[in-house]
Symmetry: none
Subunit: 136 residues, 2 copies
């Protein structure tokens, strides 16, 4: 069972994210399955919704889950190939300190590959572990 320590130097949202990640790694939450709702996670971890959502955002940035409004947050298969769409903008930038911590990019250079859709939404992956293919 997940143990959350509000007094820890590790932020609560990271502890929650870690607990959820362990469930994914252990196979308790398999690809395609939906995570418990935010409300459920609030009660389970005893944290505010803001904190739960931050934990989920963390997992989303890791590429482990993705969220569908009105339905829930689903476990993703660990894919690193992204399909380029018309109007998309692809670029690289240095990882933020937060991303370095989240992706364990402590050593040396750390860059992120980012794909921004025409609408303005963007996704980012560690540059060493992702590529964009433009469909023919």
């Amino acid at each position: 069972m997940a143990v959350i320590d509000p007094e820890s130097a590790v932020p609560v949202y990271k502890q929650v994210a870690r607990a959820l990640r362990e469930r994914i790694d252990r196979g308790e939450l398999q690809p395609g399955r939906v995570l418990p709702s935010e409300q459920h996670l609030q009660q389970e971890f005893g944290a505010a919704r803001d904190t739960i959502r931050r934990a989920i955002r963390h997992l989303t940035e890791l590429g482990l889950v993705h969220t569908v409004p009105g339905r829930g947050t689903f476990v993703r298969a660990g894919t690193t190939t992204v399909t380029g769409e018309p109007g998309m903008r692809v670029f690289a930038r240095p990882a933020t300190d937060a991303e370095r911590a989240r992706f364990d990019l402590s050593e040396g250079c750390a860059y992120m590959l980012v794909a921004e859709k025409a609408g303005g939404e963007a996704e980012a992956w560690p540059a060493d572990a992702a590529e964009v293919r433009i469909s023919e």
Copy 2:
């Protein structure tokens, strides 16, 4: 002057992000310059801090700014644009020594953004200064 419409279907944080992005694009906020503080932006746009921070997070994910705790949020260097073609593969990798010399990438971390065409030819640009746009 930026106009924020809380009644709009477009979320306030996106309106704020767009307003800030326009200032960067117009050169009012040049690379290296610091953005107004979150508190200042709260007053200027009449939005809550949470909303301002979300707008800044959005810009960070787009590679336009980066934040230094205790100091502020800074505008990153602009980029040049490359046209993406069907069949192209776009990724990032560390710069070679030759590229470091050629592009004067002497200091620290240096990544290249690479576009490989379907035929196998590839071009590379310093990651900080290039982006690929997929034509519509």
